[in-house]
Point group: C2
């Protein structure tokens, strides 16, 4: 119970606390390096990055810390988006563009083949750069990819949203499973074939998963405090991954509006929506989600949808308005603490220690 | 942390373990009495019962135990169901009737006024019968109802699904809040005005609620084991309410098929649906939910919908088929233990004790 030794040894860190990879410039090299320097595991959000940009971020991060850090990648998935799909989505999204006087520029959708190619190049980069830990979301790498990573001694993790997905990850031979409870902010990491009604809370997800595997499980979703870490540990998790908590950190690249709204939205829920990216993600409910929710099924697939909504997302934040911004957050957002990442890790460790445990 | 004394004293019990009220004959007098005799708090599911039937159940339960037990009631809500709504729902439900060769009998919908009248009579019964604890779901009793109960020394609890609802319950002057995480089986207890996208996991629900109130909170949703009890306690809950765990108990009136499926449906999720009763409830996904899900918004309101689906629910269970049965269950269903209720309470207490805590 709250035995974090296996995870600390596996990841080569002092604290079994992983800073969740958060795209869109949130997990800056500064944040990642600070987390790792403080004894946790910083993670670069590599999924949406061009291979060269990923390489630069890895090098920049390495320039700031000699400690282990990791990279997260997205398992590619087939999708189909036609020009007429884009046209239709643009038509429905028109009022959001109009709200900021924006033009709807041409969007050239990446093809599924391009996405797979990009993933292969991203894998090349993590191998070439000798990144010690790589985590995956949206599925499991194939056997060849996995054995290549293992041959270089790279530690592999993958996200599961159900106990069945967790069992699949263990069976595939990865080193540990990140269990993402329904409470988590950002993208749901569901694997292909998992239906969206399988939204499982973190508590039953941990309890059921640990019955089905021997590799360590790492808990994610709504964990913001030492009590949250211990609570998950009691159920069998051997470490935690925290996103929203680090989003609020000083070094995070999240927009100040985004950081502020975490603690200033007490009675506004963080809800699941596909509107922003084409994939289910939990974000603070706002005008865009409320007013465009009815069009959710008429939007395009990931990653195309992201390009279609980025212009007004950015404009909204720059105008200081939450109305059309993608304000990803987990259900524990009210507990966010605006402090340096290293201090957060220190505070969490102390809180866990006060309860008689160790992380 | 895991301080259960306030709840034990409030409820007049030895163990801060409440057996959740479960309608449809699950919480038999035998189950309720056994739970109370074993030191927990048994609860009669009174919400859908005619006042005279409620009175009989209370007396029967009292005949079996001298210990405290409670009654749960449904806060009435306005609804509108026309004859043509029923006709439309019947038309869509036709294949489910046909599957068992059933006729669609005439349904006379209860009017909202009838439902309020029934609730008032139910309150009379609990007062007249001197029931020591009454819990409410779907909202908060009004000030007059509440002060009447208090004047008789009746302890009052109400269910919250968000921290805002919990704060409302505390502000209204009830004695404790039952926090129902999104993981919970059976009806979601959301108050009027709470939107369905506010589905909050138990962990963040506890953490956020305890910051906002001084009365004790009791955790519900996916708790099946001593570890679950302690995990919730670490976050600040001072007791637990467990449904699915007691549904599996020997004395529960749940159909054997229902009890069995809890542990025999490893990779089948328990999902939210309004199809069975007109209100969101979590049940094991089956053929009916999958095939009729698309008609959810065309179904009638609670309690009318219940009458429309009851015939094939019963027929399905009697035919030994889960396909059209309402198999309510929480997300912790895999941990169900088929044992006498008193033994379950004993085992849970031991498990909590082994972790160094007390419940």
């Amino acid at each position: 119970m709250l035995e974090s030794k296996r995870v600390r040894e596996l990841l080569g860190v002092d604290r079994a606390i992983i800073q969740a990879p958060m795209a869109g410039g949130i997990t800056t090299p500064d944040l990642v390096a600070e987390v790792s320097a403080a004894g946790g595991l910083g993670m670069i959000a590599g999924g949406s990055l061009a291979p060269d940009d990923l390489r630069s971020l890895i090098r920049e991060t390495r320039g700031r810390t000699g400690r282990n850090f990791g990279v997260n990648l997205f398992i590619p998935r087939n999708f189909e988006v036609t020009d007429s799909d884009i046209e239709n989505a643009f038509r429905l999204l028109r009022p959001a563009y109009d709200a900021f006087g924006l033009e709807q520029g041409p969007v050239t959708p990446a093809a599924p083949g391009d996405v797979r190619e990009k993933f292969d190049r991203q894998l090349d980069v993590v191998v070439e750069e000798g990144v010690p830990v790589v985590s995956f979301i949206f599925g499991i790498p194939d056997a060849d990819q996995l054995s290549r990573l293992k041959s270089y001694g790279i530690v592999t993790l993958a996200t599961a949203t159900t106990a069945a997905e967790a069992a699949d990850i263990a069976a595939a031979g990865l080193d540990a499973v990140i269990l993402q409870g329904a409470e988590a902010g950002g993208h749901r990491g569901a694997h292909p074939g998992t239906t969206e009604d399988s939204l499982t809370g973190l508590m039953p997800l941990i309890s059921e998963s640990v019955k089905r595997m021997d590799i360590p499980v790492i808990a994610a979703g709504g964990i913001m405090t030492g009590r949250g870490i211990v609570s998950a540990g009691i159920l069998g998790s051997e470490g935690v991954q925290m996103g929203t908590a680090f989003l609020a950190a000083l070094e995070s690249g999240a927009h100040p509006l985004h950081k502020r709204i975490l603690t200033e939205s007490a009675d506004i829920p963080a809800v699941l929506t596909k509107l922003f990216t084409g994939r289910q993600a939990r974000a603070v409910k706002n005008r865009f989600i409320s007013e465009f929710g009815m069009f959710e099924d008429e939007m395009t697939a990931y990653p195309v949808q992201r390009s279609l909504t980025q212009p007004f997302q950015d404009a909204s934040k720059n105008a200081g308005s939450p109305d059309y911004a993608m304000l990803l957050a987990g259900q524990g957002k009210q507990h966010a603490r605006h402090m340096p990442a290293a201090e957060l890790i220190e505070v969490l460790s102390l809180e866990v220690g006060e309860l008689g445990y160790d992380i």
